[in-house]
Amino acid sequence: MTAPLLARDLVSGYHARPVLQGVSVELVAGRIAGLIGPNGHGKTTLLRTLSGSIPLRSGKIEMNGEDVSRVPVCDRVGRGLVHIPQGDQLFGDLSVEENLRMGAYLRDDQKAVRQTLDEVFTIFPRLAERRRQTASSLSGGERRMAGIGRGLMAEGRVLMVDEPSLGLAPLVIEQIYEALRQAVQSDRAILVVEENPSRLLGVADAIYLMDAGRIVWSGSAAETVNSSDILATYLGGH
């Protein structure tokens, strides 16, 4: 079976400065992978490269065995790759419901879209309450819910989430991770970026540790627990 998303030796970055220096990752359907590492070492750049927002210098990205390295962003979304970016990036003047509907932009079956919308509202009841409000009037936690919800609306097979817990109250974080756990039930492949690895323990099936634009360590959840000294070296004792 081919991986829903496979990246090999990615090199990319901004202007003249490469940030990623040969990164390889593989996502598995029905599994959550965690990407951790200190700030400013390429985690977000990796997601942006995978989604196509930043052009690839060298390396290869495959989805289900098909090379998508040169495929534009919107067509990668069409193939089921959904990137939930850092800082939510909501459409501020659209309502919450319109934001969620934009998430299903490429889906034609409006009945199925409405069903997904109901599912998202079940996961995040707060969004149902706020559905007519503009996104810019939401609180930080609600924005994150709207961002995740919008990503879920696409029904993509691969979900990449950038720092879902950043700056949120523990209760909201719990709710968001619960949503991701539910999402992976339907055989999706999920990649979650966090700075703080403790969030991912118990959630992620595999962990990648990134430092200075390279994956310096990777392993299963169990191996991660046994290698806490490695993590401590890189992350300063979490």
Binding site: V73, Q89, L90, F91, G92, D93, E98
Partner: protein, 292 residues
């Protein structure tokens, strides 16, 4: 009373033409962040297209309007495909695109001059006749202009606010990168916006030429007014541009009547500068976004 009606009719007619001209300009700025210096030429080309093609296809207004809008849309789309597309992601886009479209404007104006000459043709596509309202004669063409503007602007408002297509345009205007992550092909949205704005400009050109005459530089004056309207409304504010267009049209008509035609624009501009000193982001504007 007669005078009041006269001023009102003149003002609304001016406002209608300005609205058609500036709504397209605002739409382009709001979506692409680009100031289209060639917008006046889009209008001129619409007017000339109706002038030269409607002879074959019938001189009735709806046909002429369709031709003008199609020509405007075509030139808008071509401008995007041949020029704008290549600079969108480059550095200094805001300055560069103004320079390039200004270059396009003098280029196209000269081409029109070489094809049609400087002779001030009259626009054959228009409605003749007058109606009387409370003893004041009003040309039917003025009524047509106001009606066409209202219909087209309402159509644009409906499109932007009530359709999926419009929602996509607004989303792209608010956050291009996020729209792409939703699977929106934003280059196509930009193309559509350029076509849409071009069509509005074409309609504006036809209406303007029906009141004055055709000439290669006929787009200059309405473009100048549209500039000022967009600035005072807040760049990219489509809704505000429509309202400001009518307000400034009425103001201009009043000033022209009170102080003479040549002071219409200066007073308008002076007022605009005062508004900007008070509100630097424009009357309705915040940042560049298609706002409704």
């Amino acid at each position: 009373m007669d005078i009041l009606i006269q001023i009102l009719v003149t003002g609304l007619t001016l406002g209608a033409m300005y609205a058609l001209a500036s709504v397209g300009l605002a739409l382009i700025f709001g979506t692409l962040g680009m100031f289209n210096m060639a917008h006046g030429l889009f209008m001129t080309i619409g007017a000339y297209a109706a002038f030269s093609l409607s002879g074959y296809l019938g001189l009735v207004l709806p046909v002429g309007l369709l031709i003008a809008m199609a020509a405007g849309a075509l030139i808008g789309v071509l401008t995007h495909l041949l020029i704008v597309r290549f600079m969108l992601t480059g550095p200094n886009f805001e300055t560069n695109v103004m320079v390039a479209t200004a270059g396009l404007a003098i280029l196209l104006q000269d081409v029109l001059l070489k094809i049609f000459g400087a002779y001030p043709f009259t626009q054959p596509v228009k409605v003749e006749g007058t109606i009387r309202l409370a003893g004041v004669a009003i040309t039917l063409q003025s009524v047509v202009i106001v009606a066409v503007a209202l219909v087209l602007i309402s159509a644009i408002a409906f499109l932007l606010l009530r359709t999926r297509f419009g929602m996509t345009i607004r989303a792209t205007a608010m956050n291009r990168e996020a729209a792409e992550l939703m699977g929106v092909r934003t280059t196509r949205v930009y193309l559509q916006v350029m076509g849409l704005a071009g069509a509005l400009a074409g309609a504006a050109g036809l209406m303007i030429s029906s009141l004055t005459t055709l000439s290669p530089q006929m787009g200059g004056d309405p473009l100048l007014k549209a500039f000022v309207i967009c600035v005072v409304a807040g760049l990219g504010n489509v809704w505000g541009a429509g309202i400001c267009a009518f307000a400034l049209g009425l103001l201009e008509a009043t000033v022209q009547f009170e102080f003479g035609v040549r002071f219409g624009f200066p007073v308008m501009l002076l007022l605009v500068i005062l508004v900007l000193v008070w509100r630097p982001q424009g009357l309705f504007g915040r940042e560049r976004v298609v706002r409704l």
